[in-house]
Amino acid sequence: MEELLEILRDMHPDVDFETEEHLIDNGILDSLDIVSLISEISENFDVTITAKDILPENFNSAQALYELVRRLEDEG
């Protein structure tokens, strides 16, 4: 989780990712951010996030994103 938070903080240092739960709904992360984020996650975790996983509920908070990564890791 800490690794993921670091990636997110690196993109938007001004956002409190531990408490923010509306990253997509509030327009904090836009489509360019999401693609950069996916690229970072692929580099740092052994998962592949595809277009079908890009849903607001998976990206609205750091926790939701972490759960997505865990789920994809489990699916192998």
């Binding site: 489509s31 693609v35 970072e40 592949t48 079908k52 890009i54």
Partner: protein, 530 residues
Amino acid sequence: MLFTSYAFLGFAAGLLLLYYLLPRRCQQPLLLGASCLFYLAAGPKYILYILFTALTVWFTGVRMGRNTQKAAAYLKEHKEELGKEEKKAYREGQKRVRRRWLAGCLVLNIGVLAVVKYTNFFLANLNGLLTAAGRTGQLSFFALALPMGISFYTFQAVGYLVDVYRGTVEAEEGPFRFLLFVSFFPQLIQGPISRFGDLSQTLYAPHAFDGRQVSFGLQRMLWGYFKKLVVADRLLAAVMTIVGDVGAYQGAYAVVGMLFYTVQLYADFTGGIDVTIGLAQALGITVKENFERPYFSKSLKEYWRRWHISMCSWFRDYLFYPLSTSKAMQRFTKFTRKNLGDKVGRRLPVYVSSFVVWFSTGLWHGASWNFIVWGLLNYAVLMASEELEPLYAKFHARFSVEGRLWYRLLQVGRTFALVCVLNIFDCYATLGETVQAIGSVFTVHNWGVLWDGSLLKLGLAGLDYGILTGGCFLMLGVSLIQRSGSVRERIGRRPYWVRFILWYGLFLAVLLMGAYGVGYDASQFIYNRF
């Protein structure tokens, strides 16, 4: 059948009457019949195109849906026997089957769109190249007419197909129900490009008469007609005069043309969507909003989140994300990171995908270099803003202006001016004329025409300017009130006589100030041609 024609009003009124008078089980067939009738009115042969799309996409969706069900059942049945790797391999194998269905259907439907919309554009460019190469022979053009709404319904059907492939919606088994989704007439000719998951929730449900919904829907339609007939169509004459003769109307005229066209486009397109959403609401069907006060945006990026939302989100979800996250792009990202460093390597693939998206967005709007350049200019501004982001952050940290009213207004004004310049690429006949007009703003100094009465010779009299000013203030006022909730609900809470005066006043305004008269033919909505 134009939304602004008496025939359409009669058609909509008759449909509403039957819709609520007949038993509720008849509502769906009635809507489908009405949609087919609406489409047939545009020309009987065109209905074959939409039937082809509906049939191929429905069939493919059903095949993919059954494959998904079969795969899920197999995995459930063999849960204990199969190892993790075997399950993964099985899932991948089934996914490949679905991908083949998807690819075949996409090729067919995008192919039809490409052939009818872009063949002659392609041939014209090829002829240009042949001439440049010194060849005398020219390729002949095909007499291909564009079926009504093909860009919209093809995208809507393709979106559904990809959603079924991804498993985010279940395949629709009923062919007639699916045909209704593709051909639902209020949104057929200019969108919004609805998602199956959204529209199907209310499209297929039986609807009891709800006076409040019907009245809200009709009020929304009336507001749409006001924007279209009183503002957009009034501006049309001046815009056509200015862009019709680039040699005569330069400098200040070009600026006026840009401003007028941007207001006209807003009133025309949002007005049309108001009619669409309003009519759907009167039928008890929810169509998602397509605009969120776009001209209040503080940047071009924000503008594209608030203008033609359904098209932008379509390109984002079905082109930008798949392209950006594709295996090829991941390999490209790895390559650029390794060779150009993390910072550039991370951004370059995003910029490549964005380029493809904006090129396609331009091309979707029309088979012309004007639109392609318009798309790429939007891309250039957006990417430049992205690169300048750290500079903006430094500026905002140094000067505490962010959030202040005057600064916000400055940002809104700057974005509006930028949109005015970009929009004008839609208007002129050729790219050369557009460049000439924009260039003339800096070279031709005729600013006196703004107050010496010359603007009264553009097809608009003094009274027209008065009505336009009133109309623009009204649109602005409504947008400002909308920020804190629905205007219709707010009006609905007022006493009866206030509501009567407001809505009857608006009705009279459309009737008396609409840009029509003897021999006048209300113009087509701008987005119909896309």
